[in-house]
């Protein structure tokens, strides 16, 4: 029973914090709320007997990526978004964009509903790699990642590398021009 209570508390916290991320006018608070949401997610991973994933979530997302977000927000010293000014000029407020966003949102809802319904009979997904003990083991995780999913893993790395190279190219265009 307490486990269920903790689960609902953590999920509620994660959803609430995520909603606050978009609800905030101040980007600094958005970043903080996103970190809180990551923390709640890490708690959910611990409940799923996956301490390694939980710790990785905190190290990578909360510990590294969000520090960079914070760095950028501070460096730009982004002011609070002023509602009246944004209404007229912001491209995200155009009717076509709003319609596309609405379509995507309803697609997401349908998808979520389908996933929840089809997940009822699930339970074999975890067992595919052995019992709960081996799933949480870092050794097994590493083996699966570097044997079965090695292509996806390497493809992701190349994707990140491409993004990095692109950022460098974009940043360099001004000034040198070569």
């Amino acid at each position: 029973m307490p486990e269920t209570l903790i689960f609902y508390a953590l999920s509620g916290f994660a959803i609430g914090a995520s909603a606050m991320v978009i609800g905030q006018r101040n980007p600094m608070y958005s970043v903080m709320m996103l970190i809180a949401s990551f923390g709640a997610l890490a708690g959910l991973y611990v409940q799923l007997d996956a301490p390694f994933v939980a710790v990785a979530q905190i190290i990578i997302y909360a510990g590294a990526i969000m520090v960079l977000f914070l760095f950028v927000v501070m460096l730009l010293n982004a002011p609070k978004e002023d509602g009246s000014e944004w209404d007229r000029s912001h491209p995200l407020r155009q009717p076509a964009v709003v319609r596309l966003g609405g379509l995507l949102a309803s697609l997401l809802v349908v998808q979520l509903g389908w996933a929840l319904l089809s997940a009822r009979g699930l339970g074999g997904g975890v067992a595919a790699f052995g019992d709960a003990e081996t799933v949480s083991s870092v050794r097994v995780l590493g083996r699966v990642l570097f044997s079965e999913y090695v292509f996806a893993f390497e493809a992701t790395s190349i994707l990140i590398l491409v993004a990095m190279v692109g950022a460098v190219v974009l940043a360099r265009r001004e000034g040198e021009g070569s």
Binding site: V55, I59, G63, A64, L70, F71, S136, V138
Partner: protein, 341 residues
């Protein structure tokens, strides 16, 4: 209640108590050692040889008025010191500091000296230490002061840069030990080689140990890498606008982080509580001695090495320390593969 549970709670309470005291002792030790190095006495008036100076400092700080600048962000300004100190205490949660003991036969089952034993202990320490940067960055931003903002900016860039080398040097030890649990890493270092060399990982990982120590100094914002609070340039950096207890929490968090860093170094490289002469029941004495030696080195370095320039810090971190730690990791991995096959 169960006797074992009471003993375990006692150990947890003792760990907390020791961490609080570690910060008080370090304040005194820092000032005494600094005085000794500068050929003066240091604090001398409060208590015998100034031994009660930390109490005087704490009472003075508690009595001060708490100020908050008018333009400061109310919530984040209050939250920042709390984040710092919480992360500092929580990071010690998976660091073991002694072998299993029955408290001289008092208990039926042995109790482990340490708050908790998780099978990914090293990563937990690393994850929570990396949370500590938020306290400093938010303090710098929320103060609404140019000096503080620069301190916070420097802290985020510096800690991101040195965390990489720090984690990579840890990974080499994890490869050697074949486990992510700190207790298992320590137990892998019991015994001796050739009859007289204690089998500590420092002898297998001398480069890794040096990288760990340098990155550790940068992670805890100590001189020669104390850029977030470089007093000649930034007044007091990120904590310029803080006063009273809120201010006191920052140096306290720094000292506790130093202690955690030294304790993890002891567990990973110096054999933890393993050592000659003492029975395993008294291993925690070895642990305390080793941690003390590392902390002394930290203070020693602070008062002998001048501060770098900021660009030198970044260049050193990315162009020297990080490649060195990666090479160290690759060589270690190759050797482990070779000798295990």
């Amino acid at each position: 209640m169960d006797l074992l549970l009471i003993a375990q709670l006692g150990v947890i309470g003792l760990t907390f108590f020791m961490l609080i005291n570690a910060s008080a002792i370090l304040v005194l030790a820092e000032r005494k050692i600094m005085g000794f190095m500068q050929q003066r006495y240091g604090p001398y008036l409060v208590g015998p040889h100034g031994m009660l100076q930390p109490f005087a400092d704490i009472i003075k700080l508690l009595m001060k008025e708490e100020l908050r600048p008018k333009g400061a962000d109310k919530w984040l300004f209050t939250l920042a010191p709390m984040l710092s100190i919480t992360a500092a205490f929580a990071a010690f949660a998976t660091v073991p500091w002694g072998a299993e003991t029955t408290l001289f036969g008092l208990l039926d089952e042995p109790v482990k000296l340490g708050v908790s034993d998780v099978n990914v202990g090293i990563l937990v320490v690393f994850a929570i230490t990396s949370m500590g940067v938020y306290g400093i960055v938010l303090a710098g931003w929320a103060s609404n002061s140019k000096y503080s903002l620069f301190g916070g900016l420097r802290a985020s860039a510096q800690m991101i840069s040195y965390e990489l080398s720090y984690a990579t040097s840890l990974a080499a030890v994890i490869l050697l030990a074949g486990s992510l649990s700190l207790r298992e890493v320590v137990d892998g270092q019991s015994g001796v080689w050739l009859g007289f060399i204690p089998s500590w990982y420092i002898f297998l990982q001398p480069v890794g140990f040096i990288i760990y120590m340098i990155a550790g100094v940068a992670e805890t914002n100590r001189a020669p890498f104390d850029f977030p609070e470089a007093e000649q340039e930034l007044v007091a950096g990120y904590n310029t606008e803080y006063s009273s207890v809120r201010f006191a929490l920052f140096p306290q968090a720094e000292y506790i982080n130093m202690t955690t860093m030294a304790a993890v170094a002891t567990d990973l490289y110096l054999g933890g509580w393993h050592g000659p002469f003492l029975p395993p029941e008294y291993g925690w004495i070895w642990f305390l001695l080793k941690v003390g030696a590392i902390l002394f080195t930290y203070i020693w370095v602070r008062w002998t090495v001048p501060r770098y320039r900021y660009d030198q810090l970044m260049r050193f971190g990315w162009k020297w320390l990080f490649p060195a730690s990666v090479i160290n990791l690759i060589v270690t991995a190759a050797l482990v593969l070779y000798f295990n096959a």
